[in-house]
Structures are given as structure tokens and as C-alpha cells.
């Protein structure tokens, strides 16, 4: 699933490791989500959106809407 995670993270000057620590996941998880190799569960997707104080659809691109 496409997402804006890398851009959002870069805008805040956070490393993947820093974001991973904030989300309490591994750095590999952040990398896999950013590169679209892994679609997070809804609870994790909400945690990501809430961390950036955005709506979930502002972070993740709906596959049906492209």
C-alpha cells in the first residue's frame, strides 16, 4: 500500500530508528511499511497517523482510490 510515511518522517527530521522507537516497533517494520512491502494492521496504522497528528488517509493511500 502506498503511503507518505517517508516524506512525513523526513519533514520532521526523524530517522527510521527514531520513528520505530516512537511506535515501539523494529526499524525493519518502519522500512517495510515505507517501501510498501508491508501493510500495517489497523491498530498500527492508527498509531502512525496519531503520531503525526493526521487522519489515517493522509498517511496511507487507499488502494481503491490510488
Amino acid at each position: 500500500m502506498d503511503n507518505h510515511l517517508r516524506a512525513l518522517r523526513a519533514a520532521r527530521g526523524w530517522s527510521q530508528q527514531h520513528l520505530a522507537e516512537r511506535l515501539e516497533v523494529s526499524r525493519q517494520s518502519v522500512n517495510a511499511i515505507e517501501t510498501g512491502r508491508y501493510d500495517p494492521s489497523l491498530p498500527l496504522a492508527f498509531r502512525i497517523a496519531e503520531l503525526f497528528e493526521l487522519a489515517i488517509e493522509d498517511v496511507f493511500v487507499s488502494p481503491s482510490r490510488g
Binding site: 523494529s26 525493519q28 517494520s29 508491508y38
Partner: protein, 137 residues
């Protein structure tokens, strides 16, 4: 990278179970060598070393339940399925080889040994893939 609490618990549990396996295996071998049990007791004694091996699967299951990182858990489930499929395929092929008299019969407990060996291979492959991810990511 710090080791997560669930991995620490898994390591302690695995080491405990493997120690139990070693003690049971040596104990049962000595038992059969110096005071061979008979009757039902012989059957119970003979399967005792299988108990810690079964517990290894419980330990792995507990790790899956306790693992908080869903991506790593998904990778682990993926690897477990591949390793289980490969083990069943290889042992099925081996069974046919045995059936046609092309290889000598092998003790069934080697199935678990093969599964653990393939887990080791999977862990190595996963480690290589992760180091590649690090260099790319």
C-alpha cells in the same frame, strides 16, 4: 539494537527446554543400558526425550503470541510455513525412497532435527535479507 523482552524470554525458555532434553536423553539412555525398564514403564521412558522436543514447539508458539512487532511476527510465520512445508516435502520424498528400498529406513525423530536445521537455514537467509535492507533502507 536492544533485544526485546519477548526474545529474552524465548531464549531463556529455549535454553531451559534444550537442557531438559539433554538431561532426559542421557538419563533415558543410561536407564535402558543399566536397568532396562519393562512393560508400560519402558514405553513411557522411551518417549520421555520427545517431551522437551514437543515443548520447543510450545516455546516457539509462545514467542509468536508474545511478539509485539507485527512485521517481525509476520516474517516469522512466513518462515515457519516455508520450513514446515519443506520438511514435509523432503520427508515424504524420503518415505517413498524408503518404500522402494532405495535408502535405509531412518528414525522418525530426524524429522524434528531436519525441521530445526531448516529453521537455522531460514534464520541465516533472513539475517542476510535484513542486512541488505539495512544497506538499502
Amino acid at each position: 539494537m536492544p533485544v526485546s523482552p519477548e526474545i529474552k524470554r524465548y531464549t531463556v525458555r529455549l535454553l531451559s527446554v534444550m537442557t531438559l532434553y539433554g538431561v532426559t536423553l542421557v538419563g533415558v539412555n543410561l536407564w535402558f543400558r543399566y536397568a532396562t525398564p519393562t512393560g508400560v514403564l519402558a514405553y513411557v521412558a522411551a518417549v520421555l526425550p520427545a517431551v522437551p522436543i514437543a515443548l520447543v514447539f510450545v516455546v516457539i508458539g509462545k514467542l509468536l503470541v508474545e511478539m509485539r512487532d507485527e512485521y517481525i511476527r509476520a516474517q516469522m510465520v512466513h518462515d515457519l510455513l516455508i520450513v514446515t512445508g519443506a520438511t514435509l516435502s523432503i520427508t515424504t520424498a524420503w518415505g517413498f525412497l524408503e518404500g522402494f528400498g532405495l535408502v535405509a529406513p531412518t528414525a522418525h525423530y530426524y524429522v524434528a532435527t531436519l525441521w530445526f536445521a531448516l529453521q537455522g537455514v531460514a534464520a541465516c537467509v533472513r539475517g542476510i535479507l535484513r542486512s541488505r535492507e539495512r544497506s538499502v533502507g
